[in-house]
Symmetry: C2
Subunit: 205 residues, 2 copies
Amino acid sequence: MVSTAEQPTPAKRRGRRPGGQDTRAALLEAAREVFAEHGFERATVRAIAGRAGVDAAMVNHWFGGKDALFAQAVLKLPVNPADLIGEVLDGPVEGLGERLARRFLTVWDATEGGSFPALVRSIASHDEAATSLREFLLHHVLDKVAAGISTDRPALRATLCASQIVGMGMARYVAKFEPFSTADIDTLAAAVGPTLQRYLTGDID
Amino acid sequence: MVSTAEQPTPAKRRGRRPGGQDTRAALLEAAREVFAEHGFERATVRAIAGRAGVDAAMVNHWFGGKDALFAQAVLKLPVNPADLIGEVLDGPVEGLGERLARRFLTVWDATEGGSFPALVRSIASHDEAATSLREFLLHHVLDKVAAGISTDRPALRATLCASQIVGMGMARYVAKFEPFSTADIDTLAAAVGPTLQRYLTGDID
């Protein structure tokens, strides 16, 4: 499986047949369109590849699958969600909330918020974009985290986490609330971690 | 001071001189423009009234002041922030977080999210809109709440609260994460209240 972060730089554009980097860029653009039109679940790898005019196998070759393509095309995250979940779940359960907060902040900060403001504009404007984000974040990230530990009401817990995680992104990169916007990750992970921990494993009544 | 929620219905539009409801509508529109251009702090009542072509006294007459005009024009909240702060602070300090969560959800739900998605589009697109919201929410709502109790790092605590409150709005009205989006207010206030309580009065290290 090809890592999504560092791609080998393919040969320069030569002639009309799309080179590797062209294929990759075409897939990213097609993915953004198809996910926005159909939501995450109903968008198929075949439809995305068809829109890009390349073979469906190219999605696996360049991105490793639909989840990672969504993460990179729509969320602009240079991370395969499966890797992210693995990292967050790896460690004592009582540190889960802090690892989750730290991981999101680290990935976002590395791209200076990445496309978070653009993503927010998109979900505030287009129902299907909101559907995509919802399906992806809940069913492909937080549900898996919540399922990794066993508690009651996993869906409510996952959405409580989502509310605080999206709120972190809003406070830090969109509304830029000071000092949240410029505080170091350690400070924020220490403050927000226990919130996510309680939402995932604690008393929410 | 005139309540912002129920206004006496003024006489019907007659001739060219703006009647009461026209004055009020003109002030709301002018306020949205001036707040968006200058941010909350630098926008003056005089400038807003001038843009609307009415006397500055009309702002106090119709809205009771700049805070309430901002709340109604920009946040589309039918609430005077001073009243909101009073209600939230009124009661035992250990229930502050839950009252804060409940008050926001109640006000938002009453207007089906009000302009929350429009506000989010605006702050994601225009820096000055983000500045307005930041200044207003922090300096006119949360700072006053945080100052009503005495703790270390009130600004960080206020922005931590802001992150979770904005995240509630995003989860419920914009991204519409289920079941957060349709859960009853009691359930959400019970789950989110302790988060706000800890951010305001508890251990955040």
